[in-house]
């Protein structure tokens, strides 16, 4: 450092245009990208509303596909049942998996492998989950050889014990969707638990709480909002799944409540109708899309309002 550094005259005005130009460009590019993303989203949603709103009558919610005027009551109920089955299986497994990763797993390569596996699963094309469930649950196992056979055999035994039949069914569809949910929920839970400050855990331990008590009474309540958001995202995601349902729930034109039967869903119906030559059916597909998106929106908003943190009173 030069010895006369302190005596060098300085002023703090900008001389160089380089940094200012780069800074300005970066701002413009980011704003533009955000604008493009928002614009695309609104174009898609707007187009959907424009095409779908015409078919929005009460009959859509009260009638079945083969009735006149045609409706999708069975598909709406089917989507709800499938999402419920998926949540019933996927939420506990995903949360426990996330809790294990954040709180109990040894730090080392095994945990890294589990985490990587979950990330890969989260990015796996979902049709694969449909095919796997198709092979294990839907198809009556014929061949019990090899390790695939063993899995099939055990799956078949568990299935019989639970009273779940072979063939396309709501159970199979729900299971496929649950497999999609698990990695999303596990990673969300893990991330949220890691965000809980060490200070809370230390405070609890210092008061004589066991690890389980600390987890149950301090850590999970603190991370609750974030975990619920993760679960909501997972449910919204599976509510929009189509491909795995073709291999598992398959669809049904009648009203079905029994998960042992083929189960209709909005997404599967949207696919079928959108392939049709009949413009009336294609309009129905648009309406179904609008209803599906609205259902997810209303559900997310409802859960968020129900679990909203009570406002902190300051006096």
């Amino acid at each position: 450092m030069p010895s006369d550094a302190t005596t060098t005259p300085r002023n703090f005005q900008h001389h160089e245009w380089g940094p200012r130009l780069i800074s300005g460009l970066a701002k413009i590019l980011c704003t533009a990208a955000a604008a493009v993303a928002l614009l695309l989203l609104f174009v898609i949603l707007g187009y959907m509303v424009w095409k779908g709103i015409g078919g929005l009558h009460w009959s859509f919610f009260t009638n079945l596909p083969l009735e006149e005027p045609m409706g999708m009551r069975n598909c709406i109920v089917g989507t709800i049942i499938l999402a419920a089955i998926a949540s019933l299986i996927g939420v506990p497994i995903g949360m426990l998996c996330g809790i294990y990763l954040a709180e109990y797993s040894p730090k080392g390569w095994s945990t890294a492998v589990i985490r990587l596996t979950l990330d890969v699963l989260a990015g796996t094309p979902t049709i694969l989950f449909g095919v796997v469930v198709y092979q294990i649950v839907v198809v009556r196992p014929q061949n019990f050889n090899g390790w695939v056979g063993h899995i099939s055999l055990w799956a078949h035994r568990v299935q019989s014990w639970l009273g779940i039949t072979n063939g396309y069914s709501g159970w199979a569809g729900g299971l496929a969707l649950a497999l999609i949910m698990v990695p999303i929920i596990a990673r969300a839970t893990e991330e949220m638990l890691r965000l809980v400050p060490l200070a809370h855990r230390e405070a609890s331990a210092g008061l004589g709480a066991s690890k389980a008590e600390t987890l149950w009474r301090v850590v999970l309540p603190t991370a609750k909002a974030g975990i619920i958001t993760g679960i909501m995202l997972a449910i919204a995601r599976v509510a929009g799944e189509t491909a795995p349902l073709f291999f598992t729930a398959f669809g049904n034109d009648t009203m079905v409540y029994n998960p042992n039967r083929q189960m209709p869903s909005l997404t599967e119906q949207i696919y079928n109708y959108s392939q049709s030559d009949d413009p009336h059916w294609r309009a129905q597909a648009w309406t179904a899309s609008l209803v599906l998106v609205s259902m997810v929106l209303v559900f997310s908003a409802a859960v968020r309002i129900a679990t909203r943190k009570r406002r902190i009173r300051t006096h």
Partner: protein
Amino acid sequence: MILADTSTDISQKAHGAGTHGLSGTVPVTTSATAARQAVEVQNLEVFYGQHRAVHNVNLKINHREVTAFIGPSGCGKSTILRCFNRMNDLVKHCRVQGTVKIHGADIYARGTDVMELRKRTGMVFQKPNPFPKSIHENVAYPLRIHGVRGKAVIAEKVERSLRLAGLWDEVKDRLHASALSLSGGQQQRLCIARAIAVDPDVLLMDEPCSALDPIATKTIESLINELSKTITIVVVTHNMHQAVRVAHQTAFFYMGNLVETGPTDKIFHNPVQHQTLAYVTGQFG
């Protein structure tokens, strides 16, 4: 009274004899009226992996007195404090050797109930760390985990703790407001109320005022004085004036060694060790 055990530390021996002009000082000796010891530390060594953070510390802490641990950063004073309720168990690669006895019981003995130990040995941390729950729930938490049931019983114990912590009058009308709505000083007093809710014998305070302003600090210090009538308090502090204000006894640590212990007045005005004198007169640290 704390006994200034003869440390085996070499650097101390080197400085020990001269005492640098403090002629006429004699080593602190045991008093005939020695109070019951709340904590007794024998040959304590703490390792973080290969690094030895605490070297052969021998120390006695008197029942129902305030003892201050002073010393520069990294001298091991917090580490030793965290041995008293085995918080170091939570730190990976941390190993503790030697004996720590609380009211005569060896807390590192096999079969020790660590949850019970931590119930009887409350801890207050450097940064106020209330749970993101209501004021009431923060103080009720330790009661619940230690099996206290009944709304009325819990409410009564919560009130008593908050009164002891001098917080009751400030929060009695908003017990169900979030603890995070309190000021820093109030939060720290809430943490003290939480720690004393289950009647601990010993209260460990790890720099309890370092995140607080002078007025809040003063409040906490008078609280320490008040509480010491019924609870043994060990307070780690960076602030030497604080040690003078609150502590009956002071222990000075340096580089993982216990350099000197004794009555606070003596440590600050008439220390035996040259390092102690240098530290309390602000020559380093």
